[in-house]
Structure formats: structure tokens, C-alpha cells
């Protein structure tokens, strides 16, 4: 689907600015961002003024805006990488595409620059197929279909809630892995989009992601902050936690989550070894999260996304709260997030 076929009015591109100078980033993305409305949210802890080149239809939000809209105490929810969630909150569009500010367009194996925005929207507009695995991956794309043995009743699929893209060059590895393999770069372009099956858990990365805001907006929760959370992805887990919640809620409500294309090209930032020096809380928290999500069953009565988030928060508090204060804080943040979502979005 070319960008000409996409209704640009349905999409907001939300960028969390952890870097002040967005000139290179935006100029690289210009061919694919132009015509779209951009929401740029500045990390409230970033002191310098943002440098944004001309020619974009953009709204910029900074700490002052956050404090005005959600109040000073709630603005802390949006620090660091979580600043982009503020953009999700204030957007009025159906689809959100969100890319980290250290990524530029990737090239496909033919050398053509990848229009990540188009691919994400295509993924979101086509059904997902979580109930049965199609061995030819995306059955709706050109040149493919459902294979022999795929039940016909499942071929119309379910609505797609999220599209998780991938990264060439610097893949989204954790600090220990990247520190061990300092030279490793991802050069493998896997030409497929697929639906992550029902009940399968996965680590959703916030680096290159898109979602149907109308369908699941409140489920993208800025909740889990690890102690000493930093300004490089190796020092965060907020997106992984958000993704676990999103997947579980999508499974519960009968929506799908896709993974695969599009790729972006991720540049160097930070030092994995340096990040290792910080006490890596993330590992412990993930270990505890897995059995929790595996056995979690949301009640049948939770039929809206907001209900699901609230129920999930309750369960987190009850079952994980005593394990680590980070979980209690996450649960509280999730409840607060739903309140904010409702108040910001009802006031129009």
C-alpha cells in the first residue's frame, strides 16, 4: 500500500524527543513523514530547546504543556522515553506511529528506503490472525495466502491492535547481550509480517511501533519504571512492560498484534558496558512478570480496554506488589493513566 492510499488524516506520528537536535532525524524521515501530522513530545528532563527543521506539520509538547494538561504531579509519568505516551494521550487520531529519535529509514535488500509509516499503517489496517499460525506468514499480502489446513472460519482474522517493527544495525538487545557482543549488528532483513499467536508472550519494543489508538489506546501504559531508569533503551523496561499488558489485553479482547516489517535503521547511542554498571533491575522484574502474565486471567466482565487496564493493575498490585515496589508503582500508574485518558479524551 503506497502512502497515497493511506488516509494521512487518520495518523499521528508521535516522537519522543530525548535528543534536542532533531534536524537530522526529521530530515531523514522527511520523505515518509511529510503530509502527516507530527506530535513531538520533549522529555521533561531535557534542558535544551528542541531544534526542529522547517516544513513539518508539527505540534510540540514540553514539560509546561504536560503540567497544564495533566497537572504537575502526573507530569512525572512522562519522563525519559515515557514522554511519548503523552503524545498518545493528546492525539486525536485513529492510528499512532512512534519511532525513537535515534532511528532513520532503513534500506530493503533492493536498496530502496523503507517507508516505515506506510508499512505500519498497512499492518494496522489489515486483519491479524492470532488463532492459528499461517506458515506463509501474512496471508493478506501480495503473493501470499492462507495455506492448506488453515480453517476457513478463521480466515477473516481479527482487528489488528498493534504493529511491532524491527531494527537493522543496532538491534534492541539488552545491555549484557550488547556488551558481550560489542560488534554485533543486525544485518538480517526478514521479509515478513506475522501475527503473534494468542497467549504467546513477547517483548514489545517501543523503538519502532504503531497501534490503533481508537481500539487500544489506553492499553499502552507508561507504568513500569525501574530504579535508575536512564536515557538509553538499555536502561529502561517501560515499553516491555507496556507490551506485555497490551498483548494480554489484546488477547482478552480478541485483537491481534503483528510483528516483523517494517525495519528502521537504528544508530549508535550510549555504551552498553557503561549501562551494565548500573544495577540492572530489569532482569529481576521480567522474571517475576512472566509467570504472572502466563497465569493471569482477566474477568469476563472486563469488556473495555479501560476495564482491562484497571483489572490488570489490580492483579499486579495483589500478586506482584509484595515482590517489588516497582510493581506497586506500576499498578498505581496504570490506574492513574486510565483516569487521565478518560479526562483528557472526554474534554475533547
Amino acid at each position: 500500500m503506497s502512502s497515497a492510499e493511506i488516509n494521512k488524516n487518520e495518523v499521528d506520528i508521535v516522537i519522543g524527543a530525548l535528543n534536542a537536535d532533531l534536524t537530522q532525524f526529521l530530515n531523514c524521515w522527511r520523505p515518509f513523514f511529510s503530509g502527516f501530522h507530527l506530535i513531538i513530545v520533549k522529555d521533561p528532563e531535557l534542558k535544551e530547546e528542541l531544534n526542529i527543521p522547517e516544513g513539518f506539520d508539527v505540534d510540540v509538547y514540553s514539560k509546561a504543556d504536560m503540567e497544564k494538561i495533566v497537572g504537575a504531579s502526573n507530569a512525572t509519568m512522562f519522563s525519559g522515553y515515557s514522554c511519548r505516551y503523552f503524545g498518545y494521550l493528546v492525539s486525536k487520531k485513529k492510528y499512532i506511529v512512534s519511532i525513537d529519535d535515534d532511528c532513520v529509514p532503513a534500506k530493503d535488500p533492493k536498496g530502496v528506503l523503507v517507508d516505515a509509516v506506510s508499512q505500519h499503517v498497512t499492518n494496522l489496517e489489515n486483519p491479524a490472525t492470532p488463532l492459528f499460525f499461517n506458515t506463509l506468514y501474512d496471508p493478506y499480502c501480495e503473493g501470499a495466502d492462507f495455506v492448506r489446513g488453515y480453517p476457513f472460519s478463521l480466515r477473516s482474522g481479527v482487528p489488528c491492535a498493534a504493529s511491532c517493527g524491527l531494527w537493522l544495525n543496532l538491534a534492541d538487545l539488552d545491555a549484557p547481550t550488547q556488551a558481550l557482543k560489542t560488534e554485533q549488528r543486525n544485518t538480517s532483513y526478514v521479509d515478513a509480517v506475522m501475527t503473534v499467536p494468542l497467549k504467546a508472550m513477547l517483548p514489545i519494543s517501543g523503538i519502532n511501533i504503531a497501534f490503533n489508538r481508537e481500539l487500544v489506546g489506553p492499553a499502552l501504559v507508561p507504568a513500569l519504571r525501574i530504579a535508575g531508569e536512564g536515557k538509553v533503551r538499555w536502561e529502561t523496561l517501560e515499553d516491555v512492560w507496556c507490551g506485555m499488558c497490551l498483548k494480554h489485553i489484546s488477547d482478552h479482547l480478541g485483537y491481534g498484534v503483528k510483528t516483523g516489517l517494517p525495519y528502521v535503521w537504528r544508530n549508535e547511542r550510549g555504551d552498553a558496558v557503561e549501562s551494565l554498571r548500573k544495577k540492572w533491575e530489569g532482569m529481576k522484574l521480567m522474571e517475576k512478570s512472566v509467570p504472572f502474565f502466563e497465569s493471569l486471567k482477566l474477568p469476563e466482565t472486563a469488556v473495555t480496554v479501560e476495564d482491562c487496564v484497571v483489572e490488570l493493575a489490580k492483579a499486579v498490585k495483589e500478586q506482584l506488589g509484595s515482590d517489588d515496589p516497582a510493581f506497586t508503582q506500576a499498578a498505581d500508574a496504570m490506574v492513574k493513566w486510565v483516569q487521565l485518558w478518560n479526562s483528557v479524551n472526554s474534554s475533547g
Partner: protein
């Protein structure tokens, strides 16, 4: 459009992995000319050829291949009354080859499958890739977004739990096909010209609890770990259904692998599938299956094996009881199939007594 690889001039693999531990099972009714093209990659291995159809027909095996060949007379002679569980006039008969093999690993391939080319034009050694897949762990408990984490250049992504990074043993490696895709008859009728030209350069584990349509055209598995569950059912002559042999096996093995903590992979390697079967013939064979699979899938999705089922055979017998109980009402065929599943296990155990199995696994 894609073409098969030209393998002329490629030397026979001087270091064939698992040469003495793997059998290649090929069902055939016509000829084995396709093996000429596979020589560089397959010649070092032992073949088990299961000849379907007219047993008086002489099947020519290209020079240089070491093989054993079984026709219907052999199957009847070896299994006696239990031969009733082996399909006739259907490639499902291939599972007889799994049963008589004495090796740890099986690679099975159809006789219309040639060597594929990767995007760089290089001939794909499908067997080598299957072996890599089988020797390397699977990760069914948590999905890795970079697919196979053990592959050169890849790894587990941020957020992947460390306690799950050792993975589990791989039981099955399911390969794919370029050119003629494995579509069902209705899809073939609607899209007769569609060809699969997309080379997806990934191997991935199918998550626990997820079912998939397993195609028997390009498949490898650990016979010791899952062999008894690889029964390809009652198809073909005298049966109300065809082209669901591999599907049936796939649903059974996935339920059992999930129960026993084994992994199933899909993706690479690709082979080049050259022949499109007649969609009208296929429709007649598949027709009932299209309706039945609507019931069969929920059956397998909800199948729960008991804690006491700790061997593949025990799991399979339990599954056969569930088939009899829950699917017989769908059609009396399932009653027969459930019985055949039991016969299969009895035949398997007869041909593969535990003492011999222990000796084999030590070899």
C-alpha cells in the same frame, strides 16, 4: 518468478552432518529422478523409499544412493494385519518409513521438490538447515522478535527473560516452499497462477499452545523424541478424505510436543516445489476435511493430556481415546482413525522394542 537451483557441478558434501544418524524417507508412486538434482546434499545419506500404488512397478533409484525400498507387499508382509493402519494410494504411506527406520533423525521430502535458490542465487542445502534447526534449541515459551536467537548475527532481544534463554529441545523442523505454494483446493482454483517468490530468511519456534498446518513436503524430526506421534492417518484408497495426512500429524505432534516440553520450528529451509497437483482432484480429496477441520481444530486446541502421559506413545494413545470420544460423532471415520492410531502405536512398539531403542540411542 523463481527457478530451482542448478546443482550441476556442486560437489557432494564432504562433511555431511549426522550421516549415520539420519534417514531420508521418500514416498513415491512414479519415479525418483528428482534425486539427481539433490545429489550434492543427499547422496551421503541412507534413503527409505516407500513405494505407493502398484507394487509390481519398478521404481528406478539414481545410481550412487544407498537405499531400502518398501512396496505394499512389503508393508503387508512386515506388519501383517496391522498394515491396515498404513494408507494406500496416498503419500501418507510415508509414515511406514518412519516406523521401520532405525535412525535418530528423519528428513522427509516429496518427489516433486527440487533444490531452491536463496536470494543470492546459491543452492539451498535444505537438509543441512533442517539438521541445524533440530540440533539447536527451540523457544516456545516466549516469542523472540528477532526470530531464531541462536542464529549467527541474532540474539534474544531486550526484555526476553533470562531464565528462558536456554530453550527446549527441538523435535520438529518444518520447512517451506518456493514456487508452487501449499494451498488448499479452493485457493488453488481461485489463484491458479500464484507462486511463492518470497524468501523469508528466518527460522522461528511456534509458540506453545499454538497449532499450525504442518506440511509433509519438506519436514524433519527427531524420531526418538516424537516419532511415534508422526502417524499420517488413514487417507486415500477406501477413505473419505485425502490431503489431510500431514495436517493430522501436525496437530497431534504439536499437542504432544507442547505437553512434553519439546519445540517445533518453522521457516527455513526452502525447497522448490515444482508440481501443482490438480485442484479438482484435490477438492474431491479435501472436501470433507474443509468442513471437518472446523471441529477438529477446537478439539486439538482443547485437548489436555494427563500428567501421567510421559512418553510419546502414552500421549498418543490418550489422544486416540479423545478422538474416539469426541470426534466419532462428527463422522464414523474418526472411530476408525482412533483405532488406527492405536494399531500404529502397537506396530511401532513391535518394530521398535525398547531394548533395541536403547541400543540405537547409544549408537
Amino acid at each position: 518468478m523463481v527457478d530451482p537451483a542448478n546443482t550441476v557441478g556442486i560437489p557432494v558434501n564432504p562433511t555431511p552432518l549426522l550421516k549415520d544418524e539420519l534417514d531420508i524417507v521418500i514416498p513415491t508412486i512414479r519415479n525418483l529422478d528428482f534425486l539427481e538434482m539433490w545429489r550434492p546434499f543427499l547422496q551421503p545419506y541412507h534413503l527409505i523409499i516407500v513405494q505407493d500404488g502398484d507394487p509390481t512397478k519398478k521404481i528406478h533409484v539414481p545410481e550412487g544412493y544407498d537405499y531400502e525400498l518398501y512396496n505394499r507387499n512389503d508393508i503387508n508382509r512386515i506388519l501383517g494385519p496391522k498394515a491396515s493402519c498404513i494408507s494406500f494410494k496416498d503419500s501418507a504411506c510415508r509414515c511406514f518409513g518412519y516406523m521401520v527406520s532405525k535412525k535418530k533423525y528423519i528428513f522427509t521430502i516429496d518427489d516433486d521438490c527440487f533444490v531452491a535458490k536463496d536470494p543470492s542465487g546459491k543452492a539451498v542445502n535444505a537438509l543441512e538447515q533442517h539438521i541445524k534447526n533440530l540440533l539447536c534449541p527451540s523457544t516456545p515459551l516466549f516469542f523472540n522478535t528477532l526470530y531464531d536467537p541462536y542464529r549467527e548475527g541474532a540474539d534474544f532481544v531486550r526484555g526476553y527473560p533470562f531464565s528462558l534463554r536456554e530453550g527446549v529441545t527441538t523435535a520438529v523442523s518444518h520447512g517451506l516452499w518456493l514456487n508452487i505454494p501449499d494451498y488448499d483446493a479452493p485457493t488453488q482454483l481461485v489463484k491458479p497462477k500464484e507462486r511463492n517468490t518470497r524468501y523469508v530468511d528466518a527460522v522461528m519456534t511456534i509458540p506453545k499452545g499454538t497449532l499450525f498446518p504442518m506440511c509433509g513436503m519438506n519436514l524433519a524430526f527427531d524420531r526418538d523424541l516424537i516419532g511415534p506421534a508422526m502417524y499420517f492417518g488413514l487417507m486415500g484408497d477406501g477413505q473419505p478424505i485425502g490431503r489431510y495426512d500431514d495436517m493430522w500429524a501436525g496437530w497431534c505432534i504439536k499437542v504432544i510436543c507442547d505437553h512434553l516440553g519439546l519445540g517445533v520450528k518453522t521457516g527455513l529451509p526452502y525447497i522448490y516445489h515444482s508440481k501443482a497437483s490438480n485442484p479438482f482432484v484435490n477438492l474431491k480429496k479435501e472436501y470433507k476435511g474443509i468442513f471437518w477441520q472446523e471441529e477438529i481444530i477446537p478439539f486439538f486446541q482443547n485437548a489436555k493430556l494427563s500428567k501421567e502421559a510421559t512418553t510419546v506413545q502414552q500421549c498418543y494413545i490418550e489422544l486416540s481415546k479423545m478422538v474416539k470420544e469426541k470426534l466419532s460423532s462428527l463422522d464414523p471415520y474418526f472411530d476408525k482413525l482412533a483405532d488406527a492410531m492405536v494399531t500404529w502405536i502397537e506396530a511401532w512398539d513391535e518394530l521398535n522394542p525398547p531394548a533395541a531403542a536403547a541400543a540405537n540411542s547409544k549408537a
